[in-house]
């Protein structure tokens, strides 16, 4: 099949950037979206041009590294999907596809489609953990976790940290990412002792990084490759309120 790509090119963080148009012929509809970029880059290298830089690693939808806004949708038109698992059969022959990087002040562009998502790491460092040193753990089965809680916690813990929620949100809010971690850990008895500190510190760091606030549009949930529910955002709001009024001094 044939496709026309309109790709954001930006030399570095200082460059203003612009779109460039590329034409690709003879694509296999079973190729993945990133494999199409491999083909494009081979073509560019042959032509002596600079290949397109894009983040990717596992190519099986779990590492969270790939990140492209495809025709206005993070990770493309499918639901519960990552760019690396998007296949060309979901596009029309001859279609023009616009590809942009994640856009958020907290995710500055490094080059082309590559952005800096270290803000997420800093949010986790601010509180997205349970403080237990190696060796301090008790016997695993001495902690009982109701299956429902474990399942709910897992529903939140599947977050791959790709940032599609931020990319999709009109406010570039990181609430779904933060809420998923807060929810995961506050649903488990192990996370109980630090639950108030955690939510306050993580939200404070989130604000410091310059992410927007949540307007409850559900755009994040729709873009999330793992389908993490906005109910976790409500839980975060609840946890934050509780932390404000119930935390011991």
């Amino acid at each position: 099949m044939r496709l026309t790509l309109k790709v954001w090119r930006q030399k570095n963080s200082q460059d203003k950037g612009r779109f460039e148009v590329y034409h690709l012929n003879d694509l296999d509809e079973h190729a993945s979206f990133l494999e199409m970029f491999d083909v494009l880059n081979e073509q560019l290298i042959r032509e002596g041009k600079d290949p397109v830089a894009f983040d990717h690693d596992c190519r099986e939808g779990i590492c969270g590294m790939c990140s492209m806004v495809i025709n206005g949708r993070p990770h493309g038109p499918l639901t519960h999907n990552t760019t690396c698992q998007l296949h060309l059969r979901h596009f029309r022959d001859g279609e023009t596809i616009t590809v942009e990087p994640w856009r958020a002040s907290a995710f500055p562009v490094i080059k082309d489609l590559v952005v800096d998502r270290s803000a997420f790491d800093r949010i986790i460092a601010a509180g997205g953990f349970i403080s237990v040193n190696t060796g301090q753990a008790v016997e695993a089965n001495s902690i009982l976790v109701p299956k429902e809680n474990a399942d709910q916690a897992m529903n939140a813990a599947v977050c791959i940290g790709c940032g599609a929620c931020v990319a999709a949100c009109k406010n570039a809010s990181a609430m779904l990412f933060v809420a998923a971690k807060v929810s995961h850990l506050s649903l488990l008895p192990q996370g109980e002792p630090e639950r108030y500190r955690r939510v306050k510190n993580m939200v404070a760091q989130m604000d410091k990084e310059g992410f927007g606030a949540c307007t409850n549009t559900n755009a994040c949930e729709a873009a999330c490759p793992k389908g993490i529910s906005v109910t976790h955002i409500a839980r975060l709001n609840r946890e934050y309120l509780k932390a404000t009024f119930l935390q011991e001094e």
Binding site: A204, M206, L236, R238
Partner: protein, 226 residues
């Protein structure tokens, strides 16, 4: 008090303020609409003017008015602050916009809708509230000796541009409420498969009733005076 500013100036706390004031304003709309509907009673405005008199002379109501104004002010200021901050979170916009089908138009345009409502509010308050409260002599009095706000209302809606402006604002209000009502619950942390469907349903019914009510009055008076 550090904890309080930490809370209220966090993105989560700001949304809490929006939700609380928003829901409070929702209750005000019920009272306001109930009052407005009194203009429809065919008694030449007797009931309506009596009601308006009561509302402007009862001391409890006067106190609640201050609360109401604070609510409006908080909702507006906080809304504007959020709008500016949220826009700053994405300095470079996307070339192609495509919202997922599950994302409502209202939710994406709360700031715009709110701004429209703010403009309306300024005009509306200037027209009815300020006049009736501070320069009632301009409005004259009815048979009971109350300020004749009724005549002013009826007269206002004889103008097509004014009626259209009012109608437009009420449509904006409808979209604003469509998202705002249920969104407020989520910002307060209230979301559960058990009661959220009821919240959403209530929000929709509420929005339709309030919007339809507020739309009916200007249209009714406009067409009555053709």
């Amino acid at each position: 008090m550090g904890w309080m500013s930490q809370w209220l100036f966090s993105s989560v706390g700001r949304k809490w303020v929006m939700a609380v004031t928003g829901l409070f304003l929702c209750t005000f709309l019920v009272v306001h609409l109930s009052g407005n509907l009194l203009t429809l009673i065919p008694d030449e405005g007797k009931t309506f003017n009596a009601f308006a008199h009561f509302m402007s002379h009862n001391w409890i109501i006067r106190f609640l008015e201050v609360v109401l104004f604070s609510g409006f002010l908080l909702h507006i200021i906080q809304g504007l602050v959020l709008m500016v901050r949220n826009r700053k979170s994405r300095p470079v916009r996307y070339a192609v916009h495509a919202a997922a089908p599950s994302v409502s138009w209202s939710s994406l345009n709360m700031g715009l809708l709110g701004t429209l409502l703010l403009v309306f509010l300024v005009v509306h308050v200037g027209d009815f509230f300020v006049e009736s409260r501070f320069t009632p002599e301009k409005l004259g009095t009815d048979a009971q000796g109350y300020v004749n706000l009724y005549a002013e209302v009826v007269h206002s809606f004889s103008s097509l541009p004014y009626t259209l402006f009012y109608v437009l604002a009420m449509v904006a209000l409808g979209f604003h409420l469509w998202h705002g009502f249920q969104s407020a619950f989520r910002s307060l942390g209230l979301m559960h498969s058990r009661y959220t469907p009821a919240v959403i349903w209530t929000g929709k019914v509420y929005t339709v009733v309030i919007t339809a009510g507020f739309l009916f009055i200007p249209l009714y008076w406009y067409f009555m005076q053709l």
